[in-house]
Amino acid sequence: MATYKPVVVQAFPKLGERITQDTVYWRGYKTPVQIKEFGAVNKIDFSPVSPYNYAVTASSRIHIYGRYSQEPIKTFSRFKDAAYCATYRDDGNLLVAGSEEGSIRLFDVSGRAPLRQFDGHTKAVHVVGFLSDKYRIFSGGDDYSSNLWDIPSATEIVSYSEHTDYVRCGCASKVNADVFVTGSYDHTVKLFDARTKGSVMTIEHGQPVESVLLFPSGGLLVSAGGRYVKVWDVLKGGQLLVSLKNHHKTVTCLCLNSSGQRLLSGSLDRHVKIYSTTSYKVVHSFNYATSILSLALSPEDETIVVGMTNGVLNVKHRKPEERKEKPQKKRQPAYRTYVKGRTYMPKQEDFCVSKPVKRVLRKYDKLLKSFQSSKALDAVLEPPIRLYTPEVTVAVMQELHRRGTLRSALAGRDEKQINLLLTFVARRVIEPRFTPVLVTVADMITDIYQPVVGQSAIVDRQFLRLQEAIGKEIDYQEELLEVLGMMDTLFATFTKKRATYLEEKKSNGLTETIETKMNN
């Protein structure tokens, strides 16, 4: 015997962006905090140790911000000209920065004056960094050279002058203390081993390289330059794995998230794209106000800091995990009564009486079950259902129509209710998923309440609004049809042309080759 079947509320597939785990994750940030710096922010680096302060290099200053501070907790401003690439050491105690005048300075995070100064570059140093043994520093300068420095003695260990253009980015391997890569505007990325005299590997990126990144495993290398982000397999001798072209302006910065599962790229086109490192598909993307120069993600992805060309620092903090607050503990039965009989195993001759599962019906279903059409319609016109789940309201209307009782359910309503109904219809009738049902409803309402038109100003206004909404929609559809017609003609000509072109090519295949030969 059949039981009552509840009204089927049609679920429509969401158009546009699909909600995935990633979108949920990356949307979980609060509204950004904007901090104004003195110039374009060229580097942001998070301290690898708690409390994860971050150093922001902009203009001639290096600001260190605390996790939630809006004001810098420390400033290094001993630079005559612009400072570049302030980077923390692994232990978070030392900070190194290059500068426009060519010197590299090493700071103690707690101190103010530089501990060491490395002079040797003749032009601006845009990239510096610690090797993973903590005692050496690599740097790259606009004098085309990449140097290696010893911290204790403040001397140059080795200088590679292999690049043929500015060296603007670099990265040290976390696995091997001797290995680092630098990227240059000469379209190449070079891998250096401190134990050798020259570069170990050269990777041709194809565009001026703006940023390079080594995966924590050291096996994969990501380079960004021009509109491309390219992933290379270092262990296979620099083979190209993927080339991603998702930005429409130069990609300026790269960053990995804390788990290494996602790669972030920032670009001058004001977007930050997040890729999955397994499929290299864009899983999410952020939008910013101006072009992005630098980007950093704090450990545990707690904070995303983005530096812009106009000197604005955009800081986003992750929303605190929604702790499910335990509901007020209801007085539950004592433990003994709770477990009573739970462990009892029925014997063979026992007669088991199963408790029937109680089906909970929604209010409108209960009313529909007892054939109370008017009340069911009232129930789905309650504010929460009407406003947030209009599909339920429409589904019940459709069900009533199916039962042939929609007219009687709509009839006999007072001014307030008609107003409510008409508001709903006028608002939703243009939604394609609701249109078929709501057109019928609107038809019936006008039929039923035709005699009372003119008696109430409110109802009349609603009728006018409905008319206006439908009129607008008709105009819109007409416009769409026009566009469609235009596109059809375009497509028709296009396909025809292509067809003829193909034919020509087939027929002229021989002559063409001859022609090219002659040209040669």
């Binding site: 015997m1 059949a2 039981t3 009552y4 079947k5 509840p6 009204v7 089927v8 049609q10 995935t20 785990q21 999955s276 397994t278 499929s279 598909k281 529909l368 069900e399 199916r402 039962r403 042939g404 078929p436 019928t440």
Partner: protein, 838 residues
């Protein structure tokens, strides 16, 4: 060697179960009901068909237990005979030939040797009379029963329109028969020979008129309940008087009351109608009623078992529902649902080999042909069905299975004035739950009705080759493919989406069909057949030979796979060669159904010519048919299907070789499911030899069992007095207590009644704890009693010395009683006062 029998057309799939009211056997274990030409016996407990009693030559119209022998059954049929059956053995005992059509049968306990039947009045059309037939007690199987006496004239033909009242007990008024027709009620009293006529004024309201539809008589009181077409129930009283009669009205049904039944005690009235709700009216009052809603389809008949514990309803969709007395659904016996219009066609489920077609509204029934029962019913529409006339509700129109039965595609539509509501649903067979699970639902797959749908049938290939094609009246055909969610992090799931839309000169697409290897798709657009490559979706060629719209197309199979067969509505059957793209042959035949056998190259075509259907079986490579059966049946054949046999049948004749691998079933426009059989009638009707046990005595209630046991016990004690039988405590005791505890509380008498029994049962058990103990006690007691009796005897001797015979007598009794007297005394001590209550 048996000579090859001619091919016979056999009706199968069971007949309608609602020919007449069903009857419960006296012990309520079996249910007997008329089904076509047969009487079927079902087990109430297991829903199994136990016996099929055949013998009538036409539809069975009435089934009644013999009131004088509850092991026997009367059945009447349109062939004009009444048969008396021993239904436990399925043997016909006697056949009484009446001579005219029998439309209803009634048997009364009071009339010793006659039954009542409704027969058409001779010489007049559409007039019927109720006559009593005297059943002669002469020996012999086939008897003539020509002794008819007319009881009532001008009765309705429906068996629901006559009821007999006060069969059992009649202090006043006596037995009567009540009959309704149109707006008239007539009551005939047998004793007084008085006929009272009443009528309700014919009123036509919006919901229908108030003519009578059914009648039921109260079993103990003088009360008649009548049901009306406008949904009212009237209770008539005082109908002995022609003028001072009264009636009260009960109204709940919004449509025709289809049947009424009083409970055995007459306290409750059951009614049912088109709403498929069984209504239980308490104490004949308008406000106290209970409902059993959503029984599936309109209730045709209601019948009660004689002990009042069960009730059964017969429904229009060929179903019997058995309902407990407390209005709880208990069992249902489902036959083949014959809906008015089988839109889905006959489809064979490749997994179960069951026949799949429209079932209940919005459901798909899987009907097992071998066991003649419904395997299951799949809810496709998943919406509440409102049982109300004139409502436009969604129904299933197309069904297709993939080759392995893994996928099922269904199309449901709801006819709407402006635009039809269409839904294409794809179901996946879930191995775990062993049922189909909804995978994808596509709203409005086409802008107009879908005319045909087929899967690419490829057994050996992988899932990704699975393609569904739908052809629509909106001039396109669409190709649907499975799409896997490519995101590795998302959970693996597949869904269906449209891959290709094809059209041809803006003609309506009418049929589609894949070739056997799946490489070609043929789609017919009105008068043209187009052939498409199923990989690139290029139009390969078109066929348009004779004028006329294409009705059916199909590809040849196996050795004939290069042929494409098409039938047009101008009466041509054409066969095109796909290699030469030319017409191979054509025949002038008005083909209605074209059905290829999936296991062989044979194709069956059913034609309709001058009021008879003919069957042609042919191979596409030769224009001459292999087998022709003219005059297959008189009705138009709508649909046909080849059902693969479990094992190839041994067929002697070359002519019927095409029936070896599969069996052909077809459905006529009167919803009769038929098949072709080579077996002779005797082979088909192998009698079942099930031994059935029925309790010889009339059934007893649990309480009467308990009482009976006690009485028997006591009488036993009285009989073997003195014999001290050592009985096991449990053996003797537990049943009594068990009965007491297991009897439903509401049928038990008050506790004060039961207390003594219970205590007594305990007492007895204690007494018989061990034989020795009892013996000791007896010794001691007997000594005492001996002393007593000695003294007494002395006295009596002294007093009554002269009356020696008396004394002798007394002495004898005394001697007899010795040890038993105690028992007697004990019995005397017992309180039997509660028996007086009975």
């Amino acid at each position: 060697m048996v000579a090859p029998a001619a091919l016979r057309v056999v009706r199968c799939g069971g007949s309608t179960l609602h020919g007449a009211r069903a009857v419960f056997s006296a012990d309520s274990k079996y249910l007997l009901c008329a089904s076509g030409d047969f009487v079927k016996m079902y087990s109430v407990a297991t829903e199994e068909t136990l016996r099929l009693m055949g013998g009538h030559a036409d539809l069975v119209t009435g089934v009644q237990l013999n009131p004088h022998n509850h092991m026997q059954l009367y059945s009447s049929s349109l062939d004009g005979s009444i048969k008396l059956w021993d239904f436990m053995d399925g043997i016909p005992i006697k056949t009484f030939t009446v001579g005219s059509k029998l439309l209803a049968l009634y048997a009364l306990a009071s009339s010793e040797d006659s039954v009542f039947v409704v027969i058409p009045k001779s010489g007049e059309r559409d007039t019927f009379q109720l006559v009593s037939v005297k059943l002669t007690k002469a020996a012999g199987q086939d008897l003539e029963a020509r002794e008819l006496s007319v009881v009532l004239d001008g009765v309705d033909a429906s068996p629901k329109c006559i009821a007999f009242g006060r069969e059992v007990y009649s202090p006043f008024g006596g037995e009567y028969v009540a009959s309704v027709k149109e707006v008239n009620l007539q009551v005939y009293f047998f004793k007084q020979k008085q006929l009272n006529r009443f009528s309700v004024s014919a009123v036509k309201t919006k919901s229908g008129n108030n003519r009578f539809t059914c009648i039921a008589c109260h079993p103990t009181e003088d009360c008649i309940a009548t049901g009306h077409a406008d949904g009212k129930i009237r209770l008539w009283r005082n109908f002995h008087h022609k003028k001072e009669y009264t009636f009260s009205t009960l109204h709940w049904h919004h449509d025709t009351v289809m049947d009424l039944a009083f409970s055995m005690e007459g306290t409750n009235l059951l009614s049912g109608g088109v709403e498929s709700v069984l209504v239980l009216w308490h104490n004949e009052s308008d406000c106290e009623r209970d409902f059993l809603p959503r029984l599936g389809s309109a209730i045709e008949y209601i019948s009660m078992s004689s002990d009042g514990t069960l009730c059964c309803t017969l429904h229009t969709d060929n179903r019997i529902t058995i309902i407990n007395s407390n209005l709880r659904f208990s069992k249902s016996i489902q036959g083949l649902i014959k809906s008015t219009d089988v839109k889905t066609g006959l489809v064979v489920d490749p997994r179960t080999k069951a026949l799949v077609l429209n079932g209940e509204p919005g459901h798909l029934q899987f009907y097992c042909l071998q066991s003649d029962q419904q395997l299951f019913s799949l809810d496709i529409v998943q919406r509440q069905y409102i049982h109300q006339a004139g409502l436009n509700q969604a129904d299933l129109v197309k069904v297709a299975f993939s080759a392995q039965g893994k996928w099922l595609a269904t199309v449901e539509e709801r006819e709407e004035v402006t635009d039809p509501e269409l839904q294409l649903k794809l179901w996946f067979y879930d191995e775990e739950t062993q049922s189909f699970k909804l995978n994808t639902r596509i709203n409005m797959p086409h802008e107009d009705h879908i005319t045909d749908m087929c899967f690419r049938d490829m057994d050996e290939l992988e899932d990704d080759s699975l393609i569904l094609v739908t052809a629509g009246r909106d001039c396109v055909f669409k190709v649907w493919v499975m799409v896997e969610d490519t995101d590795p992090e998302a959970q693996q799931s597949v869904s269906w989406s449209c891959d290709f839309v094809g059209s041809y000169h803006n003609y309506q697409a009418t049929n589609c069909c894949f070739s056997e290897d799946g490489s070609l798709l043929a789609v017919s657009f009105e008068e043209t057949v187009t052939v498409w490559d199923s990989v690139t979706w290029d139009l390969k060629c078109t066929f348009c030979h004779p004028p006329g719209k294409i009705r059916n197309i199909c590809f040849g199979r196996l050795t004939c796979s290069k042929y494409l067969i098409g039938a047009t509505d101008y009466g041509f059957l054409c066969c095109w060669n796909l290699l030469s793209c030319a017409l191979e042959w054509s025949a002038h035949l008005n083909i209605l159904v074209l059905q290829p056998d999936p296991l062989s190259e044979y194709i069956a075509a059913v034609s309709w010519l001058s009021k008879e259907s003919s069957l042609f079986v042919f191979k596409p490579n030769e224009p001459r048919p292999i087998y022709i059966q003219r005059n297959l049946c008189k009705e138009k054949i709508q649909l046909a299907a080849f059902v693969p046999r479990d094992e190839p049948e041994m067929i002697g004749s070359e002519k019927y070789l095409w029936l070896r691998r599969s069996q052909l079933f077809f459905l006529t426009d009167t919803q009769e499911l038929m098949t072709l059989s080579t077996k002779s009638l005797e082979e088909r009707l192998t009698p079942s030899s099930k031994q059935l046990a029925v309790e010889e005595s009339l059934p007893v209630t649990p309480f009467s069992l308990l009482l009976g046991k006690h009485r028997r016990q006591q009488s036993q004690e009285d009989i073997d007095l003195g014999k001290l039988v050592v009985r096991n405590k449990h053996e003797q005791d537990s049943p009594a207590v068990k009965e007491l505890l297991h009897t439903p509380a509401h049928v038990l008498p008050s506790a004060s009644f039961l207390c003594p029994i219970f205590i007594n049962s305990l007492l007895i058990s204690k007494e018989n704890k061990s034989a020795e103990e009892v013996a000791d006690e007896v010794e001691m007691e007997s000594e005492k009693t001996e002393d007593d009796s000695d003294e007494e005897r002395d006295v009596t001797e002294m007093e009554q010395e002269d009356t020696s015979p008396m004394e002798l007598l007394g002495e004898i009794t005394c001697k007899l009683s010795k040890s038993q007297e105690r028992e007697l005394r004990k019995i005397r001590k017992m309180d039997y006062s509660w028996i007086s209550a009975f």
